[in-house]
Symmetry: C2
Subunit: 229 residues, 2 copies
DNA sequence: CACAAAAAGATTTGATCATATTCTGGCAGT
DNA sequence: ACTGCCAGAATATGATCAAATCTTTTTGTG
């Protein structure tokens, strides 16, 4: 995600000055959230008119948001003017596994070089909230905090292109993750975050990268397994 | 638009069935070509109204195409509603180098497992045309055939997600590549394609992947070097 | 009086909407 | 099953409104 858009996101959620945000961006962010955190299930059709009512927006902005998310792989063009949330396939998951383990550890390596104590503190805080969500079995909160942890790492890495790619990957498996959690709950979910934080705090980028790789692989493995049920 | 032009478009973009192509897709493909093959220079502003006239399309389709290309990183949101072709930065190029050498060799490994003699033949044909373009110093043809070679490899690999990512990367450095060729001509350009083809024809996926990695790295290195001039 | 900063106005461009048109898929009737 | 028709959804247009940039004029100061 481009940094100017991160600004827009902040504004959209009221943490910053009241600058006007174009409707098409607001729609984009809302729809993105719904996809990432599971309001929309794999295979579910997404209609323009439905969103116009649902999000109380005009037709043109909705259209633009859909095009954008389609380009990011979060939605799928069904040929006949139809758009749906993509249904995961084993080979698709394989591709995502490769891509994530190729990209995310590199982002962590980059983050490790320039991470500050403040960053580590806020990562720790996110991870604690994540633990709390797990113990109380709150799937929605788990998904949000888990993403927040990784997203914060990306932000630290200051590598906008790799971050956009990684974010794009999240959009592709987000709906599946929700399904997995619906099946197995929040127990037994991967969490190599402690190890990652430990390594980052002593400046060991290689170990941190490997820990995240483990985290990623375990999570994707569960998605893969849940497909064969 | 005259129907003969629509026909031409269908042929140009390989849509066989006689279905009508939505205007927003036509605009997308046209604009994508212009970005990939250098009609648009880095830093150049892209206006909606300009494209409406230039491509003889309506406003909504142009808008949608721009959103899509922005999502793919081919265009950049300039905060104040403005959209431009991104200007390359050294750190951006570094990111692209990492991403390409992480993704493309994997695609070649996958391609190597299932490539057919026909595929190799058509790759060879493309590479010959590429050589011809180089010897006659035809930059436009070089860019097109070079892309065609890589794109054909992606197609063989049958990995749609990794292919989309790789295509996205091309869109990001395409404009820079044009600039490089404008500076140094078509001589001294990387070409490990022969080695790749050789390895593929004997089923040596690892060697083919490494050859492509070399090709990618050499090309990106030249882009990087040309930035410091 | 010269110059530059600021204000006002004009113009270009983007955002959004209402509306007309085109297409798809389902359904009725054969 | 097949065919033709219809409702509803998507696509596309052009008009309208709003924002940003550029241009010109005004104003203030040394």
């Amino acid at each position: 995600m481009a940094s100017s858009e991160k600004e827009a996101l902040k504004v959209a959620y009221g943490t910053e000055n009241p600058k006007r945000i174009p409707a098409h961006q607001q729609v984009y962010f809302k729809l993105r959230e719904q996809i990432l955190f599971g309001e929309l299930a794999p295979g579910q059709p997404v209609t323009i008119q439905g969103l116009v009512e649902n999000l109380e927006a005009g037709m043109t902005p909705v259209r633009e948001a859909i095009r954008r998310l389609t380009a990011e792989g979060a939605l799928e063009f069904q040929g006949n003017r139809r758009v749906t949330v993509p249904t995961p396939t084993p080979s698709g998951i394989e591709e995502l596994i490769y891509a994530r383990q190729a990209i995310e550890p590199e982002l962590v390596r980059r983050a490790a070089k320039i991470i500050t104590a403040d960053d580590i503190e806020s990562l720790t805080k996110i991870d604690n909230e994540l633990d709390a969500a797990i113990t109380r079995g709150d799937v929605g909160a788990y998904l949000r905090h888990n993403y927040a942890f990784h997203a914060k790492l990306y932000a630290v890495a200051q590598s906008p292109i790799l971050t956009e790619i990684a974010d794009g990957l999240w959009l592709r498996f987000g709906p599946s993750l929700r399904v997995v959690c619906g099946r197995i709950g929040t127990q037994n979910l991967p969490d190599e975050h402690k190890e990652t934080l430990q390594a980052l705090s002593v400046g060991d980028g290689a170990r941190a990268a490997e820990a995240i790789r483990q985290d990623v692989m375990q999570g994707m493995q569960q998605v893969k397994d849940s497909l064969n049920l």
